[in-house]
Symmetry: C2
Subunit: 471 residues, 2 copies
C-alpha cells in the first residue's frame, strides 16, 4: 500500500447527519463544522493526505466525551480523539468522516502526590505545561518527544523520546488511566499502587491503542525527582560501528545514562551549520548523566574511557547548564537544521527500533540505501534503546519523489523487522504503517483484531488506524 493512496472507509452519511444534528443541540458553539477547523483537526505533521472529520467538539469533561460516544454509537459514526495534532502517522485523520473530540480544554492537573511521585491529569495538558506546573515540587515528568505533545496523545501512541533509556516510555510511565469505551461506559484501569497483579493489564492495553479501544479522559503518571546534578557532552567517533560499540559498553556496564543520542555525519553537518556547533562531521554521541555531583562526574569519566577504548573522542563534558542547554537545543532543533539541507522541501520523519547489537548495521545499511536512492535523509537516534529516525526530504508536489521516499521507508521498515526489530519504536502505526504490522507480528494481528471487534463491535473508535485493511 502506498501512503499516498490510503483506502477510504465507507461514510455513513445518514448517521453523520443525524449525529451532527443532535450534537449541535447539545453542544451548540462547542461543535465546530467550519472547513478550516475541520482540516486543522486532521492535520498531522506528515504529508499523509488530510482527511477531515465532519465536526469537532471541544469537550470540557469526561461526561462530554461519554455523551459524544453514546450519540455516535447510536448512529454508527466514527469518533477521533485529538490532542495537539503532532502525531506523525496520520492518527487524527478521519478516513470515514465522523467527529473529532478536541481535548485542549481538558488540560487540568487533577492532583499531584509528591510523596508517591505521581500525578493525575486530564489528557489535553501538554508535557511542557505539566512540567511548568510541577516546577516547585522538585519533581518532573521525564518523557520528551520532540513536539510539545498532549499527555493523552502521548499515552495513545506509547510515545517516548531522548531520555527513555533512563526513565522508560509511556508504557512504564502511565500508572493507570480512565477511558470512555465504545459503549460510552467509563473504565478506570487501576489504582495508584506502583505495581499490581490484579487481573489483565488494561492500562498497558489502552496505552498505545491509538484511540481505537477507548478514549482516554484521565491519566495517572509516574514522576521523577529532579536530579541534584546533570553532566553531559558530545563525543565524536570515526564510524557508526565505533559509536555503537561505545553505547553497548555503556549500557552493559550499568552506567545509568539519562540520554545517549546517535547523530550521523550528515545530521552533524546540518546541525553544525544551523546551530553553530564546533564538532567534526562524523558520527557523534550526545550524552547526559543525572545523579549526585560525584555520581555524574564519575559517570562522565567512565563514559569518556569507554569512548576512548572504542576509538572515539575527545569527549568534553560539562556540568554547566548553559553549555548543556546549547547542545540539547541543537539536538532538538535537528528538524529545522535538516530542512536547511534542501530549502523548500518537506520532510517525512520515520522511526524504527532494533536490538542495540544491530543498530550500527541497520544505520549503515540505511545510509547506503539513502546514498543509492539519491535521497537526502539525515539520521538521529535514541541509541541506548536502538531507536532511530531518518528524515527524508522531498518535493511534496512530485509524485515520483513521494514514491521514492515511500520505497525507502518500506525498505527501512523491512530491514528493521528482519533484524528482530520493530517498524515503530515511538511514533505508532496510525495510517502510515498499517502495511507493516502483519509482517512484524503475524498472527498477533488477528489477536489484536479479535480484541478490537470485542471491545468496539461497531468500529467507531478511530477506525482505519493500527489494523491493516486486508482482503
Amino acid at each position: 500500500m502506498a501512503l499516498s493512496d490510503l483506502m477510504p472507509i465507507e461514510r455513513n452519511e445518514a448517521g453523520i447527519a443525524a449525529a451532527l444534528g443532535i450534537l449541535k443541540q447539545r453542544f451548540d458553539e462547542r461543535l465546530q463544522t467550519g472547513e478550516a477547523v475541520r482540516a486543522q483537526h486532521a492535520h498531522t505533521t506528515t504529508y499523509i493526505p488530510n482527511q477531515p472529520p465532519d465536526g469537532v467538539v471541544f469537550v470540557e469533561s469526561a461526561a462530554d466525551v461519554q455523551e459524544i460516544v453514546r450519540i455516535c454509537a447510536a448512529h454508527c459514526v466514527p469518533v477521533i480523539p485529538f490532542g495537539v495534532g503532532s502525531s506523525l502517522e496520520g492518527h487524527t485523520n478521519a478516513p470515514g468522516g465522523g467527529i473529532s473530540i478536541d481535548m485542549t480544554r481538558m488540560n487540568r492537573v487533577i492532583e499531584v502526590n509528591a510523596e508517591d511521585l505521581d500525578c493525575t491529569v486530564e489528557p489535553g495538558i501538554t508535557r511542557e505545561d505539566l512540567n511548568q506546573y510541577l516546577r516547585d515540587t522538585g519533581l518532573f515528568f521525564p518523557i520528551d518527544p520532540g513536539a510539545n505533545a498532549s499527555l493523552g496523545g502521548m499515552a495513545a501512541t506509547r510515545a517516548s523520546g531522548t531520555n527513555a533509556v533512563r526513565y522508560g516510555t509511556m508504557r512504564e510511565t502511565v500508572l493507570s488511566l480512565t477511558a470512555v469505551m465504545a459503549d460510552g461506559q467509563m473504565v478506570t484501569t487501576g489504582k495508584r499502587a506502583k505495581k499490581s497483579s490484579a487481573g489483565y493489564d488494561l492500562t498497558r492495553l489502552l496505552v498505545g491503542s491509538e484511540g481505537t479501544l477507548g478514549i482516554i479522559t484521565a491519566l495517572t503518571l509516574r514522576l521523577q525527582g529532579i536530579p541534584q546534578a546533570i553532566s553531559g557532552g558530545v563525543c565524536p567517533f570515526p564510524t557508526l560501528e565505533a559509536a555503537s560499540r561505545a553505547v553497548i559498553a555503556t549500557i552493559q556496564m550499568g552506567i545509568p545514562v539519562a540520554r545517549i543520542e546517535l547523530v550521523n555525519a550528515l545530521q552533524m553537518r546540518a546541525m553544525k551549520n544551523y546551530s553553530k556547533l564546533d564538532y567534526p562531521e562524523s558520527p557523534c554521541l550526545f550524552v547526559e548523566f543525572h545523579g549526585t555531583d560525584a555520581g555524574v562526574a564519575e559517570q562522565a569519566e567512565t563514559f569518556g574511557m569507554i569512548a576512548e577504548e572504542n576509538g572515539g573522542g575527545p569527549f568534553h563534558w560539562t556540568a554547566l547548564a548553559e553549555e548543556r542547554n546549547k547542545l540539547w537545543k541543537a539536538r532538538h532543533d535537528s528538524y529545522w537544521a535538516t530542512l536547511t539541507l534542501r530549502p523548500g522541501a518537506k520532510s517525512l520523519s520515520t522511526d524504527v527500533c532494533v536490538p542495540i547489537s544491530r543498530l550500527a548495521e541497520c544505520v549503515a545499511e540505511t545510509e547506503a540505501d539513502i546514498e543509492e536512492m539519491g535521497l537526502i535523509a539525515p539520521i538521529v537516534g535514541h541509541a541506548g534503546d536502538g531507536n532511530f529516525h531518518a528524515m527524508a526530504l522531498m518535493d511534496p508536489n512530485d509524485p515520483d519523489e513521494i514514491a521514492l521516499v515511500e520505497r525507502f521507508v518500506a525498505r527501512l521498515n523491512r530491514r528493521a523487522i528482519a533484524m528482530d526489530g520493530t517498524c515503530t519504536g515511538e511514533h505508532g502505526i496510525g495510517q502510515g504503517k498499517t502495511g507493516f504490522l502483519r509482517h512484524e507480528l503475524g498472527h498477533g494481528v488477528d489477536v489484536m483484531r479479535t480484541i478490537k471487534q470485542a471491545l468496539d463491535p461497531l468500529n467507531i473508535l478511530n477506525p482505519g488506524k493500527i489494523l491493516p485493511q486486508e482482503s
Copy 2:
C-alpha cells in the same frame, strides 16, 4: 465468598474421558493420571483446597502444547499450565477438572544476547537455574520472588520481589513472549527491540493473565549487568511511620536503591530467634545499593543521614558479601522464622500494595487488626513499592480459625483498595482473590471478561481464575 468454599465449575465428564483417551494414544507415558501426581499438580503453597486435574502431560515442545490445546478445545476440556506450583492463590487448581500441562521439561535457555542484555527461554526454567546459566556472562536476571519459581509462572502472575523497586517487575522485564492461544494457534507478541509502538501491547496483556488467555511457551527477558559493587545493611526505627518517612525520602531523592524492605517488630523477633540476628525488636529497613564502589558508598551514607533525620539508626552498612548474605538469608528465611512463632501451625501469606504515602498507615491499621483479632501474623514488605505481606498462622483443621483468617484477609484487601491500592501487588488473583477484583476495578472486570470471551470462547484456558463468578 469464603476461600474454603470455592464454587465448582461444572465438569464435562464425556469430554474429559474422550480427551484423555486421545492424549494417552498420543503422549503415552508422558500422560500421567495417578492420584499422587494429579494432587501434586494442584498443589500450591496455600491452604486452598486441592482440586486435582484429571491428567498431567509432561510437554517437551510448543508443538506438544498446541496439540493438547487443540485436543482439549475439540472436547471442551480445561487446560491448566503448571510451572513449579509455588503460586499462593490457587492458580494451578482444576475446579472443573481437565489437563495440567507440566512445563518442567521445557526448561532450555534458547539464546542469550549479551550485547542486548536479553535472553530467550522456555517457560519451565526456574529463576535460579537461569541465573546459574548466566553466571559467566556478567549479567543476571533480577526478579526474585521468595520461591524458586518458573519463569513462565512468574510471567503469568506478573511476579516481582525484593528488588523490583530498582529493576521492575515481570511487567517491565518480559520483552516479548510466545503463547498458544485457545484455538491452538501460536502468537509471538513482539520482537527484541527494547521498545515498540506497533499496535496493542499483547505482551503486557498476556503477562499477568494467569494462563487464562494463552499458554506461554517462550519468553524473551531483559537482563541486567551485575553491579561492580553492592553495599547494604539494616536500620532500626522507633515506629513504622518513621521507617516509612525514610523510605519516601530515599525514593524522592532519587537514590537508586536496589532493595528496601520493611520488617515489622513481630517479624524482627521471629527472624532474630531463627537467624540469630542482633537487632532491636522494632521496625527495621533492610536496604541494598548497587553501583560503583564510590556510588554504593555514597548511597549508603546518604541513606544513613535520611534515616537519622527520621529518628532511625544506628545504620551499619557493609560492602562485604558474607555479612550482606547473612542479612538477606535471614530476610528470605522469614517464612520459616514465622512458622516457629506457633509450632504446628500453617500459614496464609497474603499481599497488598498501596501508594507509599499510605504504607505506614496501612501497616499500622493492619497490626491493630491483627492484635484485636488475636492472630499471629508478622509483616514484611517491599517498602519502596508500597507492597507488603502478612503471614497469618492458623490451625488448618479448625474451621473457626480459617474463617477468622479469611475475615482478616478480606479486611486487609478492602483497606488497601480504600487507600487507592490493590488487593495484590505480586501474588495474583488466582482463586483466592476473585472476590475483590470488582471492588478494586469496577467496570474494568466487564472489560476483562469481554476480552476473555473473545479470546477463549469455550472458557478452556485455566477456568475459574481471575474473573469472579457473578450471578
